[in-house]
């Protein structure tokens, strides 16, 4: 058999019904997570189902068991330690490995059961991993095993039994640091009414472990994902923190954004560091909650959305589209928290500016030779497209696209590929000269290392748009996510141009070395909100970025921590290097940039403190806020015109764009033929 090397990660999903809407069927959860099947592997998948009305008052204890001996040991423990008794439900899955799942209803207090679960798990683990309690909620029930999501669903007969839930959490797994051959390590991981599915690899694992190990949790299977469930359980159920505060602790915000230092210190060790996107479910007996967290560097994908009936969390937009063609979908921002509940709807959106992710777009009907991607694997679709081009077809339409990866990597120069639907990850990577149009949204990593041709997206693009993009044109009608245009470069006459019609998140133009980027906000021309996130153009060495409207200086480049700067200023004051009014003026600024210091400090103290901002690798950004001049128009004029034409924006919008003021960002020596013109 041919062995294939797959680029995979984990896939996560959460679907929550709104109060009054019908419940979500197992079939729907399975079909949604299965459409990113390629993110996972046969090494593990799982589901958690929440039902607010499904509780009979007892906890349902579910345990993986490796033998009759272990089972009788567990039953003996239950007999002696459960005061209200237990009701055996027996085995509910056939065994695919050493382990099979056994369950029972248990009549006892939550407090007693929590201790019991810990001690059963502790004993079974120390006896050589004989089994594990993996679910013990009243409202939540976990189904997990070894296989793809559909295999695991079949193991438990989820679809056969036509199971429904207020909320489903689902996961498809690509194991990294723990075994994939046993169901114990599959997701979701649960603790009390919490169940979580996670994509990532947490560098704070050891620190989180040190935090929790003397707080009533003794048994760990050694994965970061399990710890996340324990942390949420501990913070909300033992420490009684509000959900939102627990979520804030886990996403581990930057010190500069802290509200209270004492709380930050008190809960040190609960923050998650490194890459993660997490979806977590919870039920407090009155409402059902869906929480999603993105790490502050946004090293993993996370999109959310809603329609009239439901609210969604997913790794890829395609999972949501599988269930809802009209859902509003947006990416969670770096370090963002998304919270929704069945009765209250979306409580926290995971980002600001959602309307930027709802561009007004057209959806024309396909007219050319069409490939129908519905239900087909992405490899098959790409093969069909390649065959059509090989036959000499000039324009190929692919319809019913939903998350199919690698589309547009095989378009010959001068030919066209039109995509109808949601284009999957890695669209138009290495595109050399093809014309690729998406009528819909594109997911992550569009046009990576593209070196010619044209990509036009009528909706939004995801994270990491135009990485290492080096020639050609990319137009996005809507907005894009994190790390747009990183490492973009130019060579001689090849100057790539990227125009984004909406807004972008952090790290726009990180390490950028050439080319032209414009962020326009065409649907918010009358608003003065900033169209970019933080850390714009960090490590930039060339090229130029135009952002319509004013970009705060602190968003450009990497700033030292505010507390470090304040302390240095105080030192200068104590040494008598600066006077009190200057000191007071500077430390009361909300953000202290190097420009503020240069303007306010005498040369010697400025030279001293500027060490905090600069380094051997530092290049000062040249930033101006102005109307477009002749040189700018030479670079950008044609692109703006064809952007407006492409998306039917009309000459009034084009004229307006020419009149607007832009923040223009470049670096010293990177863009020498530029003469600033004050407007």
């Amino acid at each position: 058999m041919e062995t294939r090397r797959e680029i995979a990660a984990c896939g996560i999903l959460g679907v929550l019904r709104r109060w009054g809407a019908e419940k979500v069927k197992a079939d729907e959860a399975v079909s949604s997570i299965e459409c990113v099947r390629f993110r996972g592997s046969r090494y593990g998948a799982g589901f958690a189902a929440y039902n607010l009305d499904g509780s009979n008052g007892m906890h349902k204890l579910k345990i993986f068991i490796d033998s009759e001996n272990t089972l009788s040991h567990v039953k003996k423990t239950l007999k002696t330690r459960v005061d209200g008794g237990f009701y055996e439900l027996g085995f509910d899955s056939f065994s695919t490995s050493r382990f099979a799942s056994w369950s029972a209803y248990v009549e006892t207090s939550e407090e007693a059961l929590r201790k019991l679960v810990d001690s059963i798990n502790y004993e079974l683990f120390n006896a050589g991993m004989r089994g594990r309690v993996y679910s013990w909620g009243r409202y939540v029930e976990v189904f997990k095993g070894v296989g793809y999501p559909v295999d695991v669903s079949n193991m438990y007969g989820l679809m056969e039994k036509n199971l429904e839930a207020d909320m489903w959490i689902a996961h498809t797994r690509q194991p990294t640091n723990s075994p994939g051959v046993y169901p114990i390590w599959s997701h979701p991981f649960a603790s009390q009414e919490w169940a979580i599915a996670h994509n990532g690899d947490i560098s704070s694992f050891g620190a989180n472990m040190e935090f929790i190990r003397f707080r009533g949790y003794r048994s760990f299977v050694g994965t970061d994902s399990e710890l996340i469930a324990y942390l949420l359980d501990y913070l909300t159920n033992i420490q009684r923190l509000p959900l939102l505060q627990a979520a804030q602790l886990l996403v581990n915000g930057f010190e500069d954004d802290l509200d209270r230092v004492d709380e930050y210190v008190r809960w040190r060790g609960t923050g998650l560091d490194g890459p993660f996107s997490v979806v977590a479910g919870y039920c407090d007996g009155e409402d059902v909650y869906m929480l999603a967290l993105a790490d502050r560097s946004k090293f993993r994908p996370l999109v959310v959305g809603y329609d009239e009936k439901r609210i969604y969390v997913a790794s890829e937009e395609a999972e949501i589209r599988q269930l809802s063609s009209d859902a509003v979908v947006w990416p969670v921002k770096p370090g963002g928290i998304f919270l929704a509940s069945m009765k209250r709807g979306v409580v926290l959106a995971g980002r600001e500016n959602i309307r930027h992710y709802q561009p007004r777009t057209v959806k024309p009907r396909p007219v050319n030779m069409a490939v129908d991607a519905a239900g087909l694997d992405y490899r098959r679709v790409n093969k069909m497209v390649a065959e059509a081009f090989a036959k000499g077809v000039e324009k190929v339409d692919v319809v019913n696209v939903n998350g199919h990866r690698y589309l547009g990597v095989n378009v010959p120069p001068g030919r066209s590929l039109n995509i109808y639907g949601t284009a999957g990850n890695c669209l138009a990577n290495f595109n050399k000269g093809g014309f690729i149009t998406v009528y819909g949204n594109a997911e992550d990593d569009v046009a990576d290392a593209m070196y010619g041709g044209r990509v036009v997206i009528h909706g939004n693009a995801g994270d990491v748009l135009a990485q290492a993009f080096q020639a050609g044109e990319i137009f996005v009608r809507g907005s894009a996510g994190n790390r747009v245009a990183i490492q973009m470069r130019e060579f001689r006459e090849n100057k790539p141009v990227l125009v984004v019609g909406g807004r972008v998140d952090d790290y726009l133009g990180e390490y950028m070395a050439g080319g032209v980027v414009a962020v326009l906000g065409v649907d918010s021309l009358d608003s003065d909100e900033c169209l970019v996130g933080r850390y714009v153009a960090t490590g930039m060495v060339g090229g130029v970025i135009y952002v319509r409207g004013r970009v705060d200086m602190w968003r450009i480049g990497l700033q030292p921590p505010r507390e470090d700067v304040k302390r240095y200023l105080r030192g200068l004051l104590l040494e008598g290097q600066i006077d009190q009014p200057t000191y007071t003026k500077l430390i009361t600024l909300e953000k202290i940039t190097i420009q503020d210091l240069r303007e306010n400090l005498p040369p010697e103290p400025f030279k001293r403190i500027s060490k905090l901002y600069t380094s051997k690798y530092y290049r000062e950004h040249l930033v101006s806020y102005r109307r477009l001049g002749e040189t700018d128009l030479k670079l950008l004029g044609n692109a703006l015109q064809s952007f407006c034409r492409e998306f039917g924006l009309g000459s009034d919008v084009y004229e307006r764009l020419l009149e607007e003021k832009y923040t223009v960002i470049s670096v010293d020596g990177g863009f020498s033929d530029m003469s600033p013109e004050e407007g």
């Binding site: 694992f205 003397f214 930050y264 008190r266 060790g269 040494e575």
Partner: protein, 303 residues
Amino acid sequence: MAGVVGRQPAEPPIVSMGSTGPPYVEEPFFIRDHIVIDGAQVTRPSIDPYREPVESHVYLCGGRLRLSMPVVVKLGHHLSNSFREGVVRACYCMGVLVMIDNPTGLEKYGEGLLTEPAYVGDGVYAGYYGEPSRCRESGKPFFAHVGASTDFLWLGPVLEHVSGIVVDEDLGGVDDVEVVVSLLDRELRRHGVRNSVSLVAGGWSVRGADDVFKLVALGADAVMLSTCVEKTLEPLLTHDTSHVREKMENLLLGLQREIKLLAGAAGVSNIFNTIVGNRELLRAVELPRDIRALLSIKLAGEG
């Protein structure tokens, strides 16, 4: 370590794979020379601190003291006044705590000083007691100042009164500082006071950012530098206060950058939350099983 003078002071060299470090190439002297840092991997990317935030601050004493990096500098009384003043000024500006027995003349930098209790008052913020039982909570943070010993009998009775512990190798002691730090960290966790009682450790044996990183990962909130500061700054050759200050600032800036580079290489963006006590980031090379058990660190290659 990055230089303190020269054409590019405070700039750590960036190297690629391969190491000349102990234990295989250079001779190992301490337990931590048998400890390596478990770097980032494909699923947990490294972070470049020159382009992305890696936060090196730590808070001591429940948040009452902030350090810009996990470093405390100790100054001995044999050093000249001008030298001490230069170092204190630099540490103040750079947000690093200075442990100094007698702060006379430097009181205005008192919020950056840790001194004998007699001087704690209007200007000076924090103090230390060589006799832990004398520690009394008086509104100001007080540290117990002890040698490197794993005898923690004194700890229980004073836990309610101390804001922190300084394990000072320069006071002597029969145990390795790595072992003391690791056990003391666990002891504080067992008592449920780890986030309110700070742990500072170090002394003559600390040589640079790698030592700081490893001791922090074993459980210290901050690491104390003593001899290495004197070696680097050459107090006998440097008399001018502002020259000392500049060299010391460069030393600290270089240390901070190196610590951030190490954290970034481990895929860590926040030292205070993520590295303190995170033994999972460390692996042992040719370290006996009993010592590994005391430190709670795995063998290199272990998952």
